[in-house]
């Protein structure tokens, strides 16, 4: 059985990729996918530790996260569609109306 550190390492890599994607990419869909990546990195860490500690808590957390993520996707995609309809673009740098 693989030690838990490998799983954690993969989760860190996935999270870092997600975070970088959020910070660097301008396409709203890609940012959205990067957020999913970070969430799934957290899920991976949860299930890894759940297995490591032989506890169900982590797995329950993952289910909740997946539920929340599904709701988030529904709202997020709706927002993106609306933005696209008004702006004819989903480039987040174009959406800077709140600039002070």
């Amino acid at each position: 059985m693989l030690p838990v550190n490998y799983y954690l390492g993969l989760a860190i890599i996935l999270f870092t990729l997600g975070a970088l994607g959020v910070l660097i990419r301008r396409n709203a869909i890609v940012i959205f996918m990067s957020i999913e990546l970070m969430l799934n990195a957290a899920n991976l860490a949860f299930v890894a530790y759940a297995r490591y500690w032989q506890s169900m808590n982590g797995q329950i957390f993952v289910f909740f996260i997946m539920t929340v993520a599904a709701a988030e996707v529904a709202i997020g995609l709706a927002l993106i569609v609306t933005i696209f309809r008004t702006k004819a673009s989903i480039d987040v740098d174009q959406i800077s109306t709140l600039k002070g």
């Binding site: 959020v22 910070l23 301008r26 987040v92 740098d93 800077s96 002070g100």
Partner: protein, 719 residues
């Protein structure tokens, strides 16, 4: 008998306040109800008020026969102030009742006359509504004069003294919109008032001195200006103080009684209606000064220097005014100067200590001078009626053309009136002879008593007075001949008409009094002197009382003065009958208006212009005073106070202060704080808003960095 018991008990003395109350009631009725009453009712009320006053005075006189000492009646407590206690106190004694009888008696007769006179006067001056006002003032005068003569202390006397001055002012300028340049009468009233103020100043100084030196001596230290207190304490006060008091009082006397040097107001006072001249400026008010000296006899007899001054002032005035009267053409001006002259006689008499003689002449003078003034009023209105008639007759009017500014008071426009106005002529003749001092009329007895006293007491005064008496007879002769004899010198005079009975009846009564009045103090009986001695001798006993009361009739003096008077009248007859007739033959432009002018020439001009005393006073006092007033008004008040102090100092100072407060303080400092705060926050906001880039990724980055910091902190803290 019941009545005699009442009289002897002296209960009538308690009626004395009513001599003041009746005229006051009369004037109140006329003020509040007179508007709805006719002239007859108004006149009747006024005459009744004055007449009832006279009745009270008569009752007091009768009561005094039983109780010659009289009494003083405190009526009301007026002012109590520390050591000063002033009462409304009345005094009934022979001196005050004598004055009350004159004021009430002559006053009532003049009231009755005035009903007739003012009836025409208000129509002649085309304002009938003023009839009521006249009688309100007239009753007010009687009330004030009664206060003056019935007072028991100097301060109440002063109230009356000022009250009669006020009435004099109101009545002189009664037709205030008439006269020279439409303001002459008002100016005359003002002049009388202001000149009298100078005299009143003297009276007040005397009163202050009296308080300062008599109060510490008074019983309990409470001083009330009471006549008796002053008389009793006078000998304990240093003579120099008494001298000062009496001389300042003399200044008051010269103002009120029109003596040198303050006589100038009385001739101008003739601007008032003629009954006013008769009542106020001949019979009563102007004699107040004489009364005051007689009332203060206790003080005057203590200081012969003051007495001497009073006598000299009186004698010089008598002489001085008599000379001016020689050359006046206005019928009332002659009488005015004659009044000044006769007042001089009285003042000289009381100055010499001959109080009874002075008071006797005062009473007689009230009779015949009131008679003369009222008759002169009758003459003036007679001529005015003639003028009116001439104005309505077209034939006569043509002959009047050259007389556009016809003066009904100018004796040069009269002449021959004895045929047109018979009653007035006879009473005027009686008055004139009484004034001239022809035996046995009133003026003879009273004037000769003064002359007889003067011949023993003061030779210088005697000489001045006897010359004045000569002039008196001359100017009265001149006036009678000019007015009543010869041919009429103008159309109105030729058509003059006699006055109605309401005017002539009081004249006849006064004429009767002028004939028989002198027997009041007939030599060897001296009823009047004895009567007054109850008051005056009682107080001066032990001082010079015996001498003052000597009174006398000197047959030599009497014959001399009668001869002089007859000589003067003969001279007047020669000049104004014979010479005037001769001069009628001369052509009009060479004919002098007065035969005396062709004889004494420049002196006549000097007299006609009254020695230019008015002009001299104008130059000496009025002009500098006006200059000073102008200076104070324009330079001190306007330029300094208004322009400099108010506008420059106050207004500009205040302006710059408000500018300072508004500008630097309010705008700069207070607003500065608020603005600084506002600007600071605005700047802060400007700076911080830049953080809001609007880029989602920036926000994500800052959240990310924040999370790293928080986690880092937690790790470091927990680790």
């Amino acid at each position: 008998m019941q009545l005699s018991e009442v009289l002897n008990a002296g209960r009538f003395f308690y009626l004395v306040p009513f001599v003041v109350f009746f005229p006051v009631i009369g004037l109140l009725i006329n003020i509040f109800l007179g508007g709805r009453m006719g002239e007859k009712a108004i006149g009747a009320i006024a005459c009744l008020a004055s007449g009832l006053s006279f009745v009270i005075a008569v009752m007091l006189g009768i009561a005094l026969l039983g109780h010659p000492a009289g009494m003083s009646l405190p009526y009301l407590n007026w002012i109590t102030l520390g050591n000063l206690q002033l009462d409304w106190a009345f005094r009934v004694d022979t001196l005050s009742v004598t004055m009350m009888l004159v004021v009430g008696g002559v006053g009532t007769l003049i009231h009755i006359y005035a009903v007739g006179y003012m009836h025409e006067d208000v129509r002649h001056n085309s304002d009938p509504g003023r009839f009521r006002r006249f009688f309100v003032y007239f009753n007010l005068f009687i009330a004030a004069m009664m206060i003056l003569v019935s007072a028991n202390n100097y301060m109440m006397l002063f109230i009356g003294w000022e009250g009669v001055g006020l009435c004099s002012y109101l009545l002189i300028s009664f037709w205030y919109e008439k006269g020279k340049d439409g303001i002459g009468n008002a100016l005359a009233g003002k002049k009388a008032f202001i000149v009298n103020r100078i005299g009143d100043f003297g009276f007040l100084i005397a009163a202050f001195l009296m308080y300062k030196y008599f109060q510490p001596l008074a019983a309990n230290g409470v001083f009330s200006f009471d006549f008796d207190t002053v008389a009793n304490l006078a000998s304990q006060v240093p003579p120099s103080i008494i001298l000062a008091i009496t001389l300042f009082m003399l200044l008051g006397v010269t103002g009120k009684s029109a003596q040198l040097p303050l006589f100038v107001w009385l001739p101008d006072a003739m601007a008032g209606p003629t009954p006013v001249s008769a009542l106020i400026h001949a019979a009563t008010m102007v004699t107040a000064g004489v009364y005051l000296v007689a009332r203060s006899h206790a003080m005057y007899t203590l200081v012969p220097v003051a007495q001497n001054w009073v006598a000299i002032v009186g004698a010089v005035t008598a002489f001085f005014a008599a000379t001016i009267a020689l050359a006046q053409f206005d019928i009332k001006k002659v009488l005015a100067y004659s009044t000044i002259s006769q007042l001089g006689f009285m003042v000289a008499a009381v100055g010499m200590g001959a109080f009874a003689a002075g008071m006797f002449h005062l009473v007689m003078h009230a009779f015949f001078k009131a008679l003369l003034f009222l008759s002169a009023g009758s003459v003036i209105q007679g001529v005015e009626r003639g003028e009116h008639e001439v104005g309505h007759d077209s034939n006569l009017r043509k002959r009047m053309k050259h007389e556009l500014n016809f003066d009904p008071q100018d004796m040069r426009n009269m002449g021959g009136l004895r045929r047109r106005m018979k009653t007035t002529y006879w009473v005027y003749l009686i008055g004139a002879l009484a004034l001239a001092g022809i035996v046995p009329l009133a003026g003879f007895w009273s004037k000769d008593e003064i002359l007889a006293e003067a011949s023993t007491l003061n030779p210088a005064v005697y000489i001045l007075l006897i010359i004045a008496a000569f002039f008196t007879a001359f100017y009265m002769g001149r006036q009678v001949f000019m007015v009543f004899f010869g041919e009429p010198r103008s159309e109105p005079a030729a058509h003059a008409e006699e006055s109605p009975a309401i005017m002539t009846v009081p004249l006849i009564i006064l004429a009767f009094l002028s004939i028989v009045g002198g027997f009041l103090n007939f030599p060897t009986f001296h009823t009047f002197t004895t009567w007054l001695d109850h008051t005056i001798l009682a107080a001066t006993e032990g001082a010079t009382g015996a001498e003052a009361a000597a009174g006398g009739f000197n047959i030599v003096v009497a014959i001399l003065s009668t001869v002089l008077a007859l000589g003067a009248i003969t001279l007047a007859w020669y000049l104004y009958m014979r010479r005037t007739q001769e001069m009628q033959k001369l052509p009009l432009n060479q004919r002098p208006d007065d035969p005396l002018r062709s004889i004494i020439g420049p002196i006549f001009t000097l007299l006609e212009n009254k020695y230019w005393v008015d002009e001299f006073y104008g130059y000496l006092v009025v002009k500098p005073y006006q200059w000073l007033s102008t200076f104070l008004a324009e330079k001190v008040d306007w330029a300094f106070w208004h322009d400099f102090f108010h506008d420059t100092v106050l207004a500009r100072g205040f302006n710059s202060l408000t500018h300072l407060l508004a500008g630097p303080i309010d705008l700069g400092f207070i607003d500065g704080i608020a603005n600084f705060l506002g600007d600071g926050f605005k700047e802060l906001a400007t700076q911080t808003r830049k953080l809001q880039s609007g880029f989602v990724r920036n926000y994500a980055l800052s959240i990310f960095i924040g999370v790293i910091f928080i986690i880092g902190y937690l790790i470091l803290r927990l680790g």
